[in-house]
Amino acid sequence: MAEPLLSVRDLVVEFPTRRGTLRALDRVSFDIGEGEVLGMVGESGAGKSITGSAIIGLIDRPGRIAGGEIRLRGERIDTLPEDKLRRIRGKRIGMVFQDPLTSLNPLYTVAQQLIETIRTHLDVSEREARERAVALLDQVGIPAARRRIDDYPHHFSGGMRQRVVIALALAAEPELVIADEPTTALDVSVQAQIIDVLRDICADRGAAVMLITHDMGVIAETADRVAVLYAGRMAEIGPVRDVIKAAEHPYTSGLMGSIPTLAQTADRLTQIPGSMPRLDAIPQGCAFNPRCPRVMPHCRTDQPPLTPRAQGRQVACWLYAPAGAAHG
């Protein structure tokens, strides 16, 4: 593969607290290729959203990036000063968050917000920005875009608002869109529409997408590759079909078994005992070892490294790692 669009290496994010430092991300590495859709899944607290925030430099204080590097087309962006970072955020990396109400300013019309975003990042006239804004709304499937553009966010339904947010994220023609649970607040029938819009419009413009979600179904339909996070660590990453159909990490296969599906007829769901550890109580060795059905003695002492497998898949599990290859 040529140089990836985004490259994250050994990313560490820490939150200092009174009772010691919590490690929210522990040496997470992955790439996103040009125009690729990378799904990022995990349960609450696994570090999915933190990874997204770290990339755009929006980690809430006192949290901080404590190690590793993030490169956009080869250029380090994790060490950039705030003013330079602002030029990347919104311009080269667009963002779509879970709740469309909080990402839109209720006091401004959709037109004002779109035009402002376009003119901040692109050198165009007011009139041209407006034309672009109408075209964008049209592309994300807002009916009668020219008439509705002067409405306020509260005039739109939840699904329509999320379309506006997607239009905003794409306004400056970014190379990468980070979408953090973009459909979680929406009803199923609307969710399907938003996934279609997001996938189609990004494919159209060649923008890569980092899709953060807890919903494996959404990933299965949208992503090219999927990364599975567990307790702030990468458990498995690979082509979406391989990971979903033939998970290698015991956590991933447990997770897949625990999801009820429409086709399924089994009486009981496979369940993983226990729950994901809190950040202040991550067990020694592999973070998954207390819940793992295939745990071995050294899983309790040594953290497994991310080991390359076939088809560009990587798995962090001692079942696949060469002996003596402890991670750090």
Binding site: G159, S189, V190, Q191, A192, I195, M216, P260, T261, S275
Partner: protein, 329 residues
């Protein structure tokens, strides 16, 4: 029906959403009502799991609240084991109350943070006078073990538990009055999938063990598929279809049921190209005339825009749709 434990007949609920009196007078507006639930009828059979699915605003939680008596119906009635739940006086109602319980969606909001877990679980036991003293404490310990926690957890406070564990506590509390019927309002939608699987499995085990009857409310079709014997599909406060659990997924009758199924992301990766879902749920304050689904329906005809379709028995269930009725489906 002889084996129906809960019978819901013509259940209707309006909410007054009018502006304040002065605004109405100045702006010359009439009172405004929102119909959250309209003329809903179904039976829940003893020992089964009956599920209600629907998107936001479909009225599923309003129905749940009316069944457990948290909301008064505007019209219609609910029979529990043949006895009407509205208009029943104090003592008889109290007897009835013991026999049904509810589990709520958010285990962070449904447990009193100032009470110890043991007190939370013991409250229904004490209220209904089922046990006291050491016997009550033993019962609380036993219930905690039934839901997969330990008897020692009775001394802890809710904040010491994770979301999944709290939902187990809520289930233990619901079981403590030895009910026959439990209304579960989105019991797993606040939980992560691996924890959801634990709770769903636990609920099934308890159903087998205690012969419970569930009303299971969810927006998640996959979860409903897993749990329910029979399913009612709600759209804007009306039942669109009632069907046997498996049949709904193999041969959905109502066009809305078909659309919902099409919208579920495909985890099987069968490469199924799903039909585009059209439109959004209309505002319940101003629903479309005729069949509420007609603006989004691929099978819409003139009649659908004027008349409201009535439920028509189909096999083991029913569908309220002119297209199904006229064989256009």
């Amino acid at each position: 029906m002889a084996d129906a434990l809960v019978q819901v007949q013509g259940l209707t609920r309006y909410f007054d959403v009018s502006k304040p009196w002065l605004n109405r007078v100045i702006e010359r507006e009439p009172k405004a009502y929102l119909t959250a639930v309209a003329d809903v009828s179904f039976d829940i059979r003893r020992g089964e799991t009956f599920a209600l699915v629907g998107e936001s605003g479909s009225g599923k939680s309003t129905i749940a609240k009316m069944i457990v008596g948290l909301l008064e119906p505007s019209d219609g009635r609910i029979l529990f084991d043949g006895q009407p739940m509205t208009g029943t006086d104090g003592a008889a109602m109290r007897k009835l109350r013991r026999r049904f319980q509810m589990i709520f969606q958010d285990p962070f909001a449904s447990l009193n943070p100032r009470w110890r877990v043991g007190e939370i679980i013991a409250e229904p036991i004490r209220t209904f006078g089922l046990a006291s003293g050491a016997e009550m404490r033993r019962e609380v310990g036993r219930l905690l073990e039934v839901v997969g926690l330990g008897a020692r957890d009775a001394a802890k406070f809710p904040h010491e538990f994770s979301g999944g564990q709290r939902q187990r506590i809520a289930i233990a509390r619901a079981l403590s009055s030895r009910p026959e019927f439990i209304v579960c309002d989105e019991p797993t939608s606040a939980l992560d999938v691996s924890v959801q699987a634990q709770i769903l499995n636990l609920m099934r085990d308890l159903q087998d063990e205690f012969g419970l009857t569930y009303l299971f409310i969810s927006h998640d079709l996959s979860v409903v598929r897993h749990m329910a014997n029979r399913i009612g599909v709600l759209y804007l406060g009306r039942l669109a279809e009632v069907a046997d659990g498996k049949r709904l997924f193999t041969e959905p009758r109502h066009p809305y049921s078909r659309m919902l199924l099409d919208a579920v992301p495909d985890l099987e990766m069968s490469g199924r190209r799903r039909k585009r879902v059209e439109g959004e749920i209309p505002n319940p304050i101003d629903p479309p005339p005729g069949c509420a689904f007609h603006p989004r329906c691929p099978l819409v005809a003139d009649r659908c825009r004027r008349e409201i379709p009535q439920p028509v028995a189909r096999g083991d269930g029913m569908a309220a749709c002119f297209a199904v009725e006229e064989g256009r489906g």
